[in-house]
Structure formats: C-alpha cells, structure tokens
Symmetry: C2
Subunit: 109 residues, 2 copies
Amino acid sequence: MGVTKSEIYTEEQNRLAVQLKAIAHPARIAILQELIKANACICGDLVTELGLAQATISQHLKELKNAGLIQGTIEGVSICYCIEPKAWKNLQNELNTLFALYKDTNSCC
Amino acid sequence: MGVTKSEIYTEEQNRLAVQLKAIAHPARIAILQELIKANACICGDLVTELGLAQATISQHLKELKNAGLIQGTIEGVSICYCIEPKAWKNLQNELNTLFALYKDTNSCC
DNA sequence: TAAATACATCGTAATATTACGATTAATAAT
DNA sequence: ATTATTAATCGTAATATTACGATGTATTTA
C-alpha cells in the first residue's frame, strides 16, 4: 500500500500530476519565480535569497530538473539554472486545456 | 526536520503551493475532469469510474474540498460534488500570473 | 600543488501521503 | 422497525517528501 497506481490513469493525467507535483511546493515556486525574475541565470544566490540550507536548495533544484522544468549548465565553478522553455510552455498548455473544460455555467450543488 | 518552513514564504506562494498540491495527483486530476465533464454532479460514480477503493476516493475528495477546489452538498443518500467556481477561477488567475512572468526571450544557459 | 569556492550526494530523522479493509453514520426503501 | 445504500472516518502498512549536516567532487584562484 501507499504507492500511487499510475497504471489506471492516462499518460496525460500522470504527466500533468508529475509536473504539478514538482511545482507544488513554496520553495520551488519561489525558485521558479527567482529564475524567471533574474532572467540571467542564478545559482547559489538562491541559498541566500530563500532561507534554506544549500543541500535543501540543491535537492529542490534536482526535482525541478527531473520534472524537466528547468535546465542547468556548468558556468565555471557554479551552475547556471533557468527555465526549460519547451516544458514550461507545454505545462501551460496542459493546464489551459484542463481549465478550458470548465464553463462557468456548470453550476450545480 | 521534514516539515516545510511555510513562514519563510509569502502568503501567495503558500496558497498556490497548497492548491497545486491538491491537484498534483492523477486520481484527483481524474476526479476534477469527471466532475467537470459530468456537469451534473456525480458522487460514488467516481468509485466505479476510477479503479480505486471507496475509502480512497473519499479521502481524495476530502483533500480537494480542504483545498477549497470542490464543494459537496447532500443529495438524499449520496453526496453531490462539483467544482467551487470562485476558487477554480482564482487558481487559474494565480497560475496565469506565474506563467505571464516568463517571456520566451529569457533564454540563457 | 594547496586552498577556496560552488554544488551534488549521502545518510538520516521527522513528517506526510497513499491506499485499503473495517467500521460507523445517515438517509432511503421495504 | 429492519434492511439497504452511500459516503465518511478509523486504523494501519507501505512509501514518499522535506530538511539538514557531513562529505565528496570539480573547478578556480593563489
């Protein structure tokens, strides 16, 4: 028990859930906002910006990377992170599709 | 350890994280899609529709309700669930705001 | 080469989530 | 009243997440 039964859902449902899960943490929302705001990629600045330990930030970055939402490239000693444009657009589209299903007229209860 | 430090984030970041977390599970995505599709509210139909135990569906419904994303009203023996329009719209707006921050030109790395 | 810097990874403790059977509570039908 | 139906809740086992100190790794500077 305790393990999500991915096999009973559609490909899309599973993919969307994975990406939303990656965003569904205040630290990772803050990281994404920082990455976008800085435009130029930042790195360990996040550690001072947010109030979390370096290991924790690194772990959050890894999750965002695993979900494909950000990418990182080596920049000397540090690593430069930024939004992965394709995945970002794609997530936006998937969410639009979900929200588009609902018409305000669907009022019941 | 192991507990999210909500106090270091903004109100908005925390709220968005909570709502996204509520959606970030394939079963709950499926439930929301069903609720929207059925327009008329469904209830235990979800148990047969998805392949999960009744207790599990009930638990998922509770989480969606706690996040304020759905509402339920008693309808005889069964309970009628549907989207909570205000929260749904609000989430849509919050997400739009997040996505709007990113301009495609922000390419680095 | 040695020290410094920037991140990643490991190990671990605390906590949260997921799923389900069993039970309970409430309403409806007989 | 009794039984059936529907959904919530309880208890529990398995698993996942969150956070951090300590350590490892790679590059850069002295």
